[in-house]
Structure formats: structure tokens, C-alpha cells
Subunit: 290 residues, 2 copies
């Protein structure tokens, strides 16, 4: 089965468990709305690519890790869009969860997706329980306090956030967790895979800042100019467009270079190059990623 | 070490991990504020009481289960108090998290506490990984969709909620998880302990409805009359004060009767009786729990 199908099936399985005869119907519908149709699913793809490079001896567990990471990412988007944060009406080209279902359900959808992520991990972990503690703590640390997604969001409430700490927490953590958890789910040493996640996370954040500054809302399917409007620390403000672009190239190159020698190395390099292309704003497409 | 100290130490350990030099300071402070000083800590006490009755051969794991349950309970209170839900200014006799720290941080505190709960479980689970899948899914199901806390809250957005389903999800689930997880953490069969959690959860919900209808805000440390004001389904509306009181007695009696024959049975009966007394509104103190 191809990676994209595996990811969608794992996500569908998790969301489906919340759609029983006894579910509150609006919540069930809003949970599905928040996850389908998805974005690029780049984090779960990365997770499964690394699991594959490490032998992927327990596919159900790597699928669960990939799905958990995507569910947590979706949860963060739903809460991030709330009026008390970005107050965004548009996400992936359609109305945000709170715009459709109201704030209360949007808070609950985020909460429900977080819980669902850890439930999916635990269920699949029954097959290889000795891998579950490291797998769960890896993913939990990427999304919690003091250095995960929640901390990243919280830096936006601080008067003087450190850009590197903010970006690592808000974006980098989940990329690092994607590569590390892919290895752990396959029973491999995650050490050699950490660098790939670190570099990709940094690249993704820089690209996101560039796109926020340079793209139209139509191109992104969400509001733009949010960093400047909300006074959030960002790479374009700190380094300028050219400086940010240079850093994007450097980090993508570092990501490619960090891939360990393994059977799936060529596919992984392709995945990184493809992401690099996808992330670069069209008006800057001259940027070469190599 | 006594049970109360074990619970506070486990909670303090979890919150302390979010208070590193790199934490966003407001988030770290708000996380602690949401958990300390606590309420009656009735769910974690119940969890440890059952673990004790089952031999408690891995105290660090039962402590983690107890702490996880309390962290998830605290998370639900923080989100429940938000303006888009109860819009409550007071909780445990002090300003709510959003009243002090703002809505954005309150959303993040809830998210962070949910993640922290599963991280604490996973860390302690390394000692007995084969218990971790069942322990985690038990607790996740009690707080997620379709039948946990999140679903319970979501029923409040439905036009025609079923009282029993709503109460089970909103309150009962976490009580049942407390007894079941206490047994699972100790490596015991959780089956005989499910009834105790079920009955106590129902009793607690009825008592909560009675207190909301009959107590003053000063007595409870939080706003009262919320059920009626927000048109929420509740036992007082459904059965009247006398009817609700009768059901409270029945369920407390059923809880006492359900305790399996075991070394700690007498202490557990005492805990139930004490809770029954604590939960009954003072003006109804004539109610006898036996």
C-alpha cells in the first residue's frame, strides 16, 4: 500500500472511532471536518519514509505514529485559528472549524484530536509495547510544554520571545518528532534521524514566514500577512526576504546531507527536494534546492 | 508515603518538567496555577486506593495514572471555564485561568495539561510497558470522543442531549477510568472495579447538580445556578430536589456494595462514605449514606 493511502486510512480509522451511534453528532462531524480533506500531510509522510528506511517491521505502529503526528498538527491548527489567537476564517481554502461550528466546538475538536492521537498510539502499541514509552514521549514532547507546539504558541504571548526557541517549538519540534518516531516505531536507533527532522522543521518555518509575507490568501488557502499584523517574530522581519531565502536554501541542503546511508535514502532525498519546491513562494521559484 | 503526598508529588513532578529555563514563563506559571492548590483530588485518590487494594506493585506507575487523571480533570476545568463555555470567573475560590492569564493562554494550558498527562503515563510506563497500552486507552477513552469528557462537553451544544449519555461522558467516565486504571497500573484484572467507578461517577454528577442548584458561590468557590442559567440537562431539573437526593443515596449505596472483597475494602468504603458526606449540600446534611 502506498504511503498516502496508509496515512489517510490510519486517520480515517481514528476519526471513525469517534463516529459511533452514541457520539454527539456535531462533534463527530467537526472532528472529521478538521482532518479531511488534509493539507500536504508532510509530517506523516516524513515519519513513514523514515520508518520505511528503517525496515518498517510493524507497519501498524508506524501508521499510528504518523496519524498521531498529523492529528496533533490538525489540533494545533484548529486552536491556532481561534479568535483569541489568529482569528482566521480560512484554512486549507475552506472556513475554519470555529467559523463553521462555533468556538466551543472548535476548542473541543482540538482537545479531542489531542486525546485521539495518544489513544491511536496506545492501541497500536499493544503489538510492540516496549517501543511505546519512547514513541509516546517523543511525540508528547514535540507538542507540549516546555518546548513543543503549545510552548511555541505561548511564546506569542511573551513580550520578548527568542526567535529560534519560538520557531523550534512551534514548527521544528513536530518535524523532529516525525523522523525520530518513524525510527522508534520501526525499532531502530533514532539518533541518525534527528538531524533530518531538525533541518526540515527549520526550513519549513522559514518557508512559512516567506509565504506569509509574499503570497496571496488565494495561493495559501488561509489569511496572509499574519506575522506582521500580529507582531509575531518571523524570519522575514529578522533577516529580510533575501536573507530568509538564503537560510531556506542552506537548511534544505543540510537536510538532504543529513540523510543517513540506507536503502530508502534516494526516495527520502526526493521527498525533501519536492517539499523544498512546494514550500518556495512561486515568485521566488528561481531558488534552486540541491 | 501517604496517598495525598504521593498525588501532590506526582503532579508537582509533571508540572515541574514544564518549568525549565527555556519555558515561556507565562505558560509555565499558568500551568502551575491551574493545578495548585488543588480541589479534593478525589479521582486520583480513588485510583491509588484501588491500586493499593490490588497490591500496588509498581507505585510509580499508579502515581502516574493518578496524576494523569487529575491533570486531565484540571485541563477540562480550565477549558470549561472559558468564555465560549461557562464564562466563569471563579474556580476553587480564586480567579479562573483565563481571568488571570487571558483566553489564549487558558486554551494552551488545557492543551498542555492534556499532553502532559499522556507524557507522564508514558514515562512511568517504561517500567512495565506491557501495561501501558491498556492504561493509556482506558484514560484516553474517558476524556476523548465519542464517550469521554470532550464528548460530554459537546453534548451541551446539541439541541436534545440524552441526560444519561451526557452525564456519563462529562463526569462518570473519569471516575470509571480512575478505578479501572488503578487496577491496570497494579497489573490486576480491572473488571471487578468498574462498578465502583461507574456508581461514584453517577453519584458525583447528581451531587454536583444538587450543589449547583442549592449552594452559594461562596460555599462552592465557583459560580452557582449555571445549569439552569445555561439550560443544561441536570438531575434537579429532571427529578426534582427530593428525587435527585434519593438517587444520590442509591448510587452511593451501590458504590459501597460494589467494592470487591479485598485487603483494602474497609478503607475504600470509608473513602466512599467520606466523599458522600463531602458532596451533599449542607442544607441537606440529614441525608444518611450507608
Amino acid at each position: 500500500m502506498d504511503v498516502v493511502t496508509r496515512i489517510e486510512q490510519a486517520l480515517n480509522g481514528a476519526i471513525g472511532r469517534a463516529e459511533t451511534a452514541n457520539s454527539p453528532p456535531k462533534l463527530a462531524s467537526a472532528l472529521r471536518y478538521a482532518v479531511f480533506p488534509g493539507g500536504a500531510r508532510v509530517r506523516p509522510q516524513l515519519c513513514l519514509a523514515v520508518a520505511g528506511a528503517c525496515g518498517d517491521d510493524t507497519p501498524a505502529l508506524s501508521d499510528a505514529a504518523a496519524a498521531a503526528i498529523e492529528l496533533l498538527h490538525c489540533a494545533s491548527l484548529v486552536h491556532d485559528d481561534l479568535p483569541c489567537f489568529d482569528d482566521a476564517d480560512l484554512r486549507r481554502g475552506k472556513p475554519t472549524v470555529h467559523a463553521i461550528h462555533g468556538e466551543a466546538l472548535a476548542v473541543l475538536v482540538g482537545d479531542g484530536l489531542i486525546v485521539m492521537a495518544f489513544e491511536a498510539l496506545a492501541m497500536a502499541g499493544a503489538a510492540e509495547p516496549q517501543r511505546l514509552p519512547a514513541l509516546t514521549t517523543t511525540i508528547a514532547r514535540a507538542v507540549g510544554a516546555p518546548r513543543g507546539l503549545v510552548a511555541g504558541q505561548a511564546w506569542e504571548s511573551e513580550p520578548d520571545p527568542v526567535l529560534s526557541e519560538y520557531q523550534r517549538a512551534k514548527t521544528g519540534g513536530l518535524f523532529t518528532a516525525a523522523t525520530v518516531s518513524g525510527a522508534v516505531a520501526a525499532g531502530a536507533d533514532p539518533g541518525p534521524w534527528r538531524g533530518l527532522g531538525d533541518h526540515l522543521g527549520e526550513a519549513y518555518q522559514i518557508a512559512d514566514d516567506l509565504r506569509d509575507a509574499l503570497c496571496t490568501a488565494e495561493e495559501l488557502g488561509k489569511p496572509v500577512g499574519q506575522d506582521e499584523a500580529l507582531g509575531r517574530p518571523n524570519a522575514v522581519e529578522e533577516f529580510g526576504v533575501d536573507g530568509a531565502l538564503g537560510r531556506l536554501q542552506q537548511t534544505l541542503n543540510a537536510a538532504v546531507d543529513s540523510i543517513p546511508d540506507c536503502p530508502g535514502a534516494a526516495e527520502l532525498q526526493q521527498l525533501v527536494l519536492l517539499q523544498g519546491k512546494r514550500l518556495t513562494p512561486k515568485q521566488l521559484a528561481a531558488v534552486s534546492v540541491a
